[in-house]
């Protein structure tokens, strides 16, 4: 053990018997239950009928394939499990299971086609989710294992898929070029464009008498060149393993393919490039279960970010930076599962001082190669004459400049509000944090529904005034109610996660583990800060 000065232990001020705590706990517990229900729904695949048929054919379900691929007792962080949730025409999960877990002791990005949903056909949302998973593998330098069984593109919707869908193949070969291995296990059909998934992968395993990999199937071949052929001759596992060389390994059955996949990972002799210092891991001193009583389900009611930090960091120890300055942004250092982390957590609206403090803190973390954790609970930057005159724009810009140009891994957790430019200043999705997760109580929009509707009302009244017209009060009230309802619906965490604005909604009590898995994954890649930034306006 080093003689490093331990960070102070955060005190807690919560009262578990208070009405506020109990109210929060009850509401958040219900929200977590709702999340579990949604996740359960997303994991049933094509439903009993298709699952039974799939199993009867001697095949494993995608999640069973994942479980068998993972090391026994490995963790598995499923990513974007609710992509497509509530999006018309899409299944929750977007027909792809993806996540991070250990295979032969190596953190891998694992994907599996959801073959029981429309035969595993790729929808528009599948393309976006696959792209996101591909980004995660690339940015964090994770070997990837794709377990393929897909009918290909959802052809009636080809217009939404065809053009962006090409990216997947480019990603595969680019990762290969970056020396991030790509492994493809083919369990079933992988045809036409899909044939390039094995085609572009570094290692390919095909399951005997199941894999079918060809550019065009027998009907199209007949149509195109008049040749009579069979699936096996055209693209069977035996043919590809013995004749074409598209497959590197012939698996006798599904478990054998998975075993081969594990064997391939074992021989990569993989080492994480991030090279963190080994440290003792101390659990938090406060029960993470209390997060349900801490987090306010009402974005108008603030809560102390330090109470959250105390329940996710090692030993509840936190070395706070500039504690007396810019107090609406709590900054400081901690460890999570032994990994160092610099935390930026909102404790109110962003002002000029808090924005500048945040920008400086990000620079310091880059100087020392410390990853960043954004605990986002922000209704926005302060508005008003006084603040504009203080230069809130240029100071906010400093924060956004630092967030945008920072090169250490960043993880964002949305624990409450995510409104306005605050979303940007606190490393929202557009700022490409390595991982972004949300709590079930969080709300996200450019502004609240009431405020947005109010703003629209003022604008409409001003416009009517300019035209010398009187407003139709009834119509205006109706329109205001409608827009408020729409914005509220679109601020919902399920609306957001269904559209891939995040990597998943998590149970707040899992936050520490989710961050740990994300951080550890991030350390698979080199962790290097930058000293080059955009021009800061002073």
């Amino acid at each position: 053990m080093s003689e490093a000065q331990p960070y102070p232990i955060l005190p807690t001020k919560i009262d578990r018997r208070s009405d506020e705590y109990r109210g929060n706990y009850a509401t958040n517990t219900a929200a977590v239950e709702k999340l579990r229900g949604a996740l359960r729904e997303a994991t049933v695949g094509g439903g009993d009928k298709y699952n039974t048929r799939h199993k009867a054919a001697g095949k494993l379900l995608p999640r069973e394939r994942v479980e068998l691929l993972l090391d026994r007792d490995s963790y598995f962080l499923e990513l974007c499990p609710l992509a497509g949730h509530g999006v018309p025409g899409h299944a929750p999960g977007a027909s792809v299971v993806g996540g991070i877990g250990l295979v032969s002791g190596v953190e891998c990005l694992i994907t599996a086609s959801e073959a029981t949903v429309k035969g595993g056909a790729m929808s528009e949302m599948s393309v976006w989710k696959s792209g996101r998973l591909s980004d995660i593998a690339e940015q964090n330098r994770l070997p990837s294992i794709s377990m393929i069984e897909s009918a290909g593109a959802d052809l009636p919707n080809q217009s939404k898929i065809f053009v962006p869908g090409g990216r997947g193949f480019r990603d595969l070969t680019r990762r290969s070029e970056m020396r991030i291995p790509t492994i493809c296990l083919v369990f079933g059909s992988s045809t036409a464009g899909g044939a390039y998934i094995p085609g572009m992968s570094d290692y390919v395993v095909m399951v005997k008498e199941q894999a079918q990999v060809y550019l065009a199937g027998p009907p199209l071949v007949k149509m195109a060149i008049g040749e009579d052929t069979t699936h096996e001759a055209l693209g069977g596992a035996e043919m590809h393993s013995r004749t074409s060389g598209v497959s590197d390994y012939l698996a006798v059955d599904e478990p054998d393919a998975i075993r081969l996949g594990r064997e391939i990972v074992a021989h990569l002799d993989w080492r994480k490039a991030g090279n963190p210092l080994p440290r003792a891991v101390e659990p938090p001193r406060y029960d993470p279960d209390e997060l349900l009583g801490v987090a306010s389900p009402d974005i108008k009611v603030p809560f102390d970010a330090r109470e959250v930090i105390a329940r996710i960091v090692d030993g509840s120890r936190f070395s706070e930076f500039k504690p007396l300055y810019g107090q609406t942004l709590v900054c400081g250092w901690a460890h999570i599962h032994g990994y160092p982390i610099g935390i930026l957590a909102n404790n109110g609206i962003l002002f000029s001082d808090s924005s500048q403090k945040g920008a400086q803190f990000i620079q310091l973390c880059n100087q020392s190669n410390i990853p960043l954790l954004y605990l986002q609970n922000i209704t926005g930057f302060m508005v008003g004459t006084k603040y504009e005159q203080e230069g809130i724009i240029k100071n906010g810009a400093k924060l956004i400049n630092a967030v945008s140009n920072s090169t250490v891994p960043a993880i964002t957790i949305m624990i409450g509000a995510s409104f306005g430019a605050g979303n940007y200043g606190m490393s929202g999705r557009a700022y490409s944090p390595r991982f972004l997760f949300t709590w079930p109580n969080h709300r996200i929009a450019v502004m609240g529904g009431k405020q947005l509707a109010g703003v629209l009302e003022i604008i409409q009244r001003e416009a009517a005034g300019k035209r010398g017209e009187t407003v139709d009060e009834q119509k205006l009230a109706f329109g205001k109610a409608m827009i408020e309802q729409q914005i509220d619906k679109e601020s919902d965490p399920y609306f957001a996660t269904g559209r891939l604005w995040d990597d998943g909604i998590i149970d707040p009590r899992d936050t520490r583990t989710v961050i740990a898995i994300s951080l550890s994954a991030a350390y698979s890649a080199p962790v290097e800060g930058t000293t080059s930034w955009g021009v800061f306006r002073h």
């Binding site: 479980e67 026994r72 963790y75 499923e78 002791g105 478990p255 989710v514």
Partner: protein, 665 residues
């Protein structure tokens, strides 16, 4: 009357033990206590054995087969010369009753710790021994022990003696070459088989025949004589609990004898000893019938395996007495010490009591007995010892001494039940069952005890709740082992999932029985476990250190279970649970109709050829292992498709010997 050999003093300073295993250790312990230096001899198979390390000096005497090492007189004498040993203790078995060896020692000027070569030679012939006993007025079992050794002649003599009839090797002991014949038409085959076994075991196929006594008890008398004319008996040992004519449990005193019988048998034993001028330690074996009559069987001219029970009830160290006698000293006590309390010994064998007591092999992964007052452990092995095919499969003797027979039996049973002998199948649990059997507890014994009570003692159905507890313990121990292994995020809860439960599955098999476990770790060692698809039960892994797994059940009861893992084999409290591999070798094919070797051994004779028609039970070949013959029989009716081995081949356990194509149904 014989003249006693001269009582000159022969100093001994260094003793070579011409033996191995527990007896070598036991002899050397006494030597150490007497201030004598010790020399071990060892074969290539035994270099790592505890007795080799225990000795002051150790010397390799040849390859594993006993003929080329422990039975090689020249090599043993050369070892004695090389180390300057002035005495040799032969232990039991091997050269202990070999008069040529005793003679050779004398010729080399080395003191042989045992009777004279002449007495060994004389009593080595069972016929001679019986004549001597008869001459001393000691009754013998009616029979034939003459020179007519042709199969036809022996068959005729056998008919005269009558049935049931016992056929056995004249030179043998330990049941080798022994047959019981109940009907005249079985006699010729039995004589042939016994001759073959006797020839292979002793190099002498001379047989003798005798009246077979129903419900006999085996009771033997320890005798001890010095070169000053003193010959005493040290009371009896009852050794009626036997399997395959080999002793399993021995005790003293015998629950069958009253004082008068005890004295009569002691006097008879002393009379036999005096008749031959016996010196040093020996055992006069008798058979008794339910009416109390006793018949002389033979004299074992050596220290017996079961000598500790006599030591415990008499307070004497028999090896010390042997050495004193060999040095020409007088016996410590020329009066017979009184019997104090009761002692029982069990022989812990590497064998499968549930499958015909077939010898087993393997590595002893964990060997420990509880430290209980009154318990003596004479072990030849320790954790890590390899049990091979070359020697007797006895691992240890466990002996309990208590004021009463009941207490001694309970103490010994408890010791066995709480012992761990992992890695090799042993008769540990079987022995505990025998000790707890009402018949044994009542002292209602005869040499067929184990056969008669086989239904209650062997092949018992699997205790499923126990097997499930063992499976849970094995699962938890393996889980803990994985948890401790280095990996990313060592402190994230194993099996953590943000979506779904991530239930882990493992299947264990115990013979034909499979136990399927599904488990979920819910944190801090707590588990929700589904056993064979039944509703979830809770269990908590309290700790797992050095193979001691502490599991708390739903009622809050904590139990410590010993678990030793050897690859996919989990040894849990006497059960062996074989974990199904996560990725079974899909390419591996099981040959239907294949007959495999039940144990490692040597093919003695192949009885059928490819193409032969066989029925269930047709003997296909004879295997020899641990000097016992076992026939490998067809398990299906059909045609022999192939014979994979030839006579003389050494085969490994589970090696395919022959393939029988089943006949069309």
């Amino acid at each position: 009357m014989f003249n006693h050999s001269s009582p000159v003093s022969r100093p001994i300073s260094k003793v070579l033990v011409a033996n191995r295993g527990e007896i070598a250790l036991r002899v050397m312990r006494t030597c150490r206590a007497m201030g004598l230096a010790t020399v071990a001899v060892f074969s290539d198979a035994d270099g790592g054995m505890p007795f080799v390390r225990y000795a002051d000096e150790a010397i390799r005497i040849g390859p594993a087969p006993a003929r080329e090492s422990y039975l090689d007189i020249e090599k043993i004498l050369a070892a004695a010369r090389a180390t300057g040993a002035d005495a040799i203790h032969p232990g039991y078995g091997f050269l202990s009753e070999n008069s040529a060896f005793a003679h050779a020692c004398a010729g080399a000027g080395i003191t042989f710790i045992g009777p004279s070569a002449m007495v060994i030679g004389l009593l080595g012939s069972k016929r001679e021994a019986k004549l001597r006993a008869q001459g001393a007025g000691v009754p013998i079992v009616p029979g034939y022990s003459g020179n007519d050794q042709e199969v036809a002649q022996l068959t005729a003599h056998g008919r005269e003696v009558g049935f049931p009839l016992l056929v056995k090797a004249s030179a043998g002991g330990g049941g080798k070459g022994m047959r019981i014949v109940r009907a005249a038409d079985e006699l010729a085959a039995a004589v042939e088989g016994a001759k073959r076994e006797a020839a292979s075991a002793f190099g002498d196929d001379t047989l003798l025949l005798e009246k077979y006594i129903e419900r006999p008890r085996h009771i033997e008398i320890q005798i001890l004589g010095d070169h000053h004319g003193t010959l005493v008996h040290l009371w009896e040992r009852e050794c009626s609990v036997q399997r395959r004519h080999q002793k399993v449990i021995e005790e003293s005193p015998s629950p069958a004898l009253d004082h008068a019988h005890r004295l009569a048998m002691g006097a008879a034993a002393v009379a036999v000893g005096k008749a031959v001028g016996y010196t040093n330690a020996g055992t006069v074996e008798f058979i008794t019938d339910p009416e109390g009559a006793f018949y002389f069987l033979e004299v074992n001219t050596r220290l017996q395996v079961e000598h500790p029970v006599t030591e415990l009830v008499t307070g004497l160290d028999l090896v010390r007495e042997q050495i004193r006698v060999a040095r020409g000293e007088r016996l410590t006590a020329d009066n017979v010490p009184a019997q104090r309390g009761h002692a029982i010994e069990v022989r812990l064998y590497a064998e499968d009591a549930d499958h015909g007591y077939l010898p087993t092999t393997g590595t002893v992964l964990d060997f420990r007995f509880p430290d209980l007052p009154g318990l003596r452990l004479d072990a030849g092995v320790e954790s890590g010892t390899e049990i091979g095919i070359h020697y007797d499969p006895m691992l240890a003797k466990v002996i309990a001494h208590a004021p009463t027979r009941h207490e001694a039996a309970a103490l010994l049973a408890r010791a066995l039940e709480h012992a761990t002998v992992a890695g090799v199948t042993t008769n540990r649990e079987f022995l505990a069952r025998v000790l707890r059997h009402p018949g044994f507890v009542a002292g209602d014994l005869d040499t067929h005890f184990l056969e008669h009570h086989a239904a209650e003692l062997v092949g018992l159905p699997l205790d499923v709740p126990r097997a499930r507890r063992a499976a849970i313990a094995a699962m938890l121990a393996a889980w803990d082992e994985r948890r401790r292994a280095p990996r990313p995020l060592q402190h994230v809860r194993p099996g953590w999932r943000n979506v779904g439960a991530g239930e882990q599955h493992v299947t264990f098999t115990l013979g034909e029985h499979a136990i399927k476990l599904g488990y979920r770790h819910t944190g801090d060692g707590r588990f929700a476990i589904a056993v064979d698809g039944e509703p979830l039960i809770a269990a908590t892994l309290v700790s797992a250190q050095d193979g001691a797994v502490v599991v708390e059940d739903e009622q809050g009861v904590r139990r410590t279970v010993r678990v030793v893992r050897d690859g996919l084999r989990h040894h849990v409290d006497g059960l062996v649970l074989v974990e199904e591999p996560r990725f079974p070798d899909s390419a591996a094919q099981h040959t239907p109709g294949a007959l495999t070797a039940p144990m490692p051994g040597k093919v003695v004779k192949v009885l059928v050829a490819a193409g032969d028609a066989v029925v269930v039970g047709t003997p296909l070949m004879v295997l020899e292992a641990m000097k016992m013959e076992h026939s490998v029989k067809a398990t299906v009716a059909g045609t022999v498709a192939s014979i994979a081995v030839a006579a003389g081949d050494q085969v490994a356990a589970d090696q395919v010997l022959a393939v029988v194509t089943p006949a069309e149904a």
